[in-house]
Homo-oligomer: 289 residues x 2
C-alpha cells in the first residue's frame, strides 16, 4: 500500500488509537492527527505517541488529510460529518468504525446531501470492554475481521484505499450489505450487550446485591464482561440499530418464554433439547478459542 | 485435619475428580473409591490416578467409607441416596456438591425418612464449562468458595469434617441457609446459564447461523462460554431450583421489557442510566479479575 500522508482520527479511543498504533508499526502512515472534545485525553494520546498533533476542532483536524477515520459513538457521526464537510479535501477518503452501518450511511446522506464517492463505511469486529486511548494496542485488529459496507456511490478506488488501511493493521477485510451487517451484528453483538447490561442492572438493584456479587463465580464474570463496556457507545448503538435489535430481542424473548414454561411445567426433556442444541452449536462455531 | 481413611466419590467428573486430585496432593486421604454408571469413564479415572478403585454399584462403593461425596446432577441424588443407604456406615459423613440445596435436602428427607445427623449439604462455587474427569485438576477449588448449608439435624462434628475436607482442597468454606443459597445462585449462576443457552439456541435456529457465528467477536465468546456447559446438569438445576429461578427470571424479564420500550421510543437517557448503573456495579464487584 502507498503510505497515507495524513491520517486524521476523530475520536482517539480504543478503536482509533489501536489503528493509529498498528499503522505506525507497519510504517503505513506519515502523520496522524487526532481530534476530539477532551483536550486532556488528546494530550495523553500525543504523549503516548499515538498521534502527532491534535485539534479540538474536527474541521481543522481534517485539513490536509488524505484519510479520515471517524471512531465515534454512532450518535455523534452526523454532527461531526457536518462540521468537517467544509474542510474535507476532494481526494480525502472518509471512513468510520461505527458498530451500526445503516444509521451511519443515513447520517452521511443528511450531512453531505448525497453520499460522497469517497465515503466508505466500515466496522472492525474487534474491541475489548475497556475504552480510551490508554487501552489501545497495535495488535487489536490482527487476524480480526473488518466489514466494509460500501454505499451505491462509493468509488472502487476509495473502497480499495480503506481496505488497504485495515489490511495494514493486520485485519481481514470483507464487504457486506449494510442491512445485512446490522442484522448479523444485532444477533451476535448488540443483543448480547443489551442482555448483559440488563442482567447486571437487575442484580445491582436487589437488596442483597453485595452478597449476590460476592458469590459470583468465573462463569458470571465471563458472561457479564461486556457489561463493563462504554455505556454511551452502547446507548447509541441500541438507538441507532433499533429495527434489527428489536427484531432479535423479540425472537429471543419468545424462545425464553418457552423455556420459562418448560421450567414451570417440569418439562426436562424440552430443557435438555434446547441446552444440548445450544452447547453443540457453541462448541462447533466457537472451537477456535 | 485427620486424614480421611476412605473417600467414596459417586460421580467422578470435573467436580469429584478435582476434589480427589486436590486431596491426594494435600495428603489428606488414604484411599479414594469411585462409583458411577459408565465403566469406561471410571477406568479412565483410575488410569489418571484420580481414584484407586471403583464400583458400578454405589452401595458397594460406599462400604467402608468414612466420607462420601455425591458429585452428581441434582436430579440423580435421591435415587443414589436410596441405593447407598443400606451400606452407609453409621460414622460415615455424607455430603454433596449439588448446585441447588433445597432440592438435595428434600431428596435426603425422602431417601432417609429423616435428615441424617451425618448429612451436610454443600456446594463448591467453582467449575468450568468443561466436564468429565479429563477436565479435572487439583487447583480447581484453590481460593474458591464452598457453601455448606447444614440442615437442622446436621451434627457439629459432621459439619466440621466436611469443612476440613474442602479446606484441604484450598477452598474457603462458608455456611448459608439453603433457601438463601438457592436464591443467590439463581441470580448469579442459574439465570445467566439459562440466558446463555437460550441465546445460542435462538441464534443457532436462524437461517444464516453460519454467517452469524462467523462474525461473533470475543465478547460473544465470553458471553456464551457457559452455554458449553453440561446440558444434563443444567436441565436438573433448572427443574430443581424452579421457584427461585423463575422469580429471578420474571424480575429480569420485567427489566428487559422496560429496556425494550426505551429502545422503541428512542429513550436514550433511560438506556444510558441502566447501562451506566450496570457498568459501575460490574466494575466495582468484579474488580479482581
Amino acid at each position: 500500500m502507498k503510505a497515507i500522508r495524513q491520517l486524521t482520527i476523530i475520536g482517539v479511543g480504543l478503536i482509533g488509537g489501536s489503528l493509529a498504533r498498528a499503522l505506525r508499526e507497519a510504517g503505513a502512515v506519515d502523520e496522524i492527527v487526532g481530534a476530539g472534545r477532551d483536550e486532556a485525553h488528546l494530550q495523553r494520546a500525543r504523549a503516548l505517541g499515538v498521534i502527532d498533533r491534535y485539534s479540538l476542532d474536527p474541521a481543522e483536524a481534517v485539513r490536509g488529510a488524505d484519510m479520515v477515520l471517524l471512531a465515534l459513538p454512532v450518535g455523534a457521526m452526523e454532527a461531526v460529518m457536518r462540521a468537517i464537510k467544509p474542510q474535507l479535501s476532494a481526494d480525502a477518503v472518509l471512513t468510520d468504525a461505527g458498530s451500526t452501518k445503516g444509521s451511519v450511511i443515513e447520517a452521511a446522506r443528511q450531512a453531505f446531501g448525497e453520499l460522497p464517492a469517497n465515503f466508505v463505511p466500515g466496522h472492525p469486529i474487534a474491541g475489548t470492554e475497556d475504552s480510551g486511548v490508554e487501552a489501545s494496542f497495535a495488535g487489536l485488529y490482527r487476524d480480526h475481521r473488518v466489514i466494509l459496507t460500501p454505499t451505491e456511490n462509493s468509488s472502487a478506488d476509495a473502497v480499495e484505499r480503506v481496505r488497504a488501511l485495515w489490511q495494514a493493521a493486520g485485519a481481514e477485510v470483507l464487504e457486506m450489505d449494510p442491512e445485512h451487517h446490522d442484522r448479523v451484528l444485532a444477533a451476535t453483538s448488540h443483543l448480547p450487550h443489551l442482555l448483559a447490561f440488563s442482567l447486571v442492572d437487575t442484580l445491582a438493584k436487589m437488596d442483597d446485591k453485595q452478597e449476590i456479587f460476592a458469590y459470583a463465580a468465573g462463569g458470571f464474570r465471563d458472561f457479564t464482561r461486556i457489561a463493563s463496556s462504554d455505556p454511551n457507545m452502547w446507548r447509541d448503538i441500541c438507538v441507532h440499530n433499533e429495527p434489527a435489535l428489536l427484531a432479535m430481542l423479540d425472537r429471543f424473548e419468545a424462545d425464553l418464554k418457552r423455556l420459562r414454561e418448560a421450567i414451570a411445567h417440569d418439562d426436562g426433556d424440552y430443557l435438555l433439547e434446547v441446552f444440548s442444541h445450544a452447547k453443540a452449536a457453541r462448541d462447533r462455531f466457537c472451537d477456535n478459542e
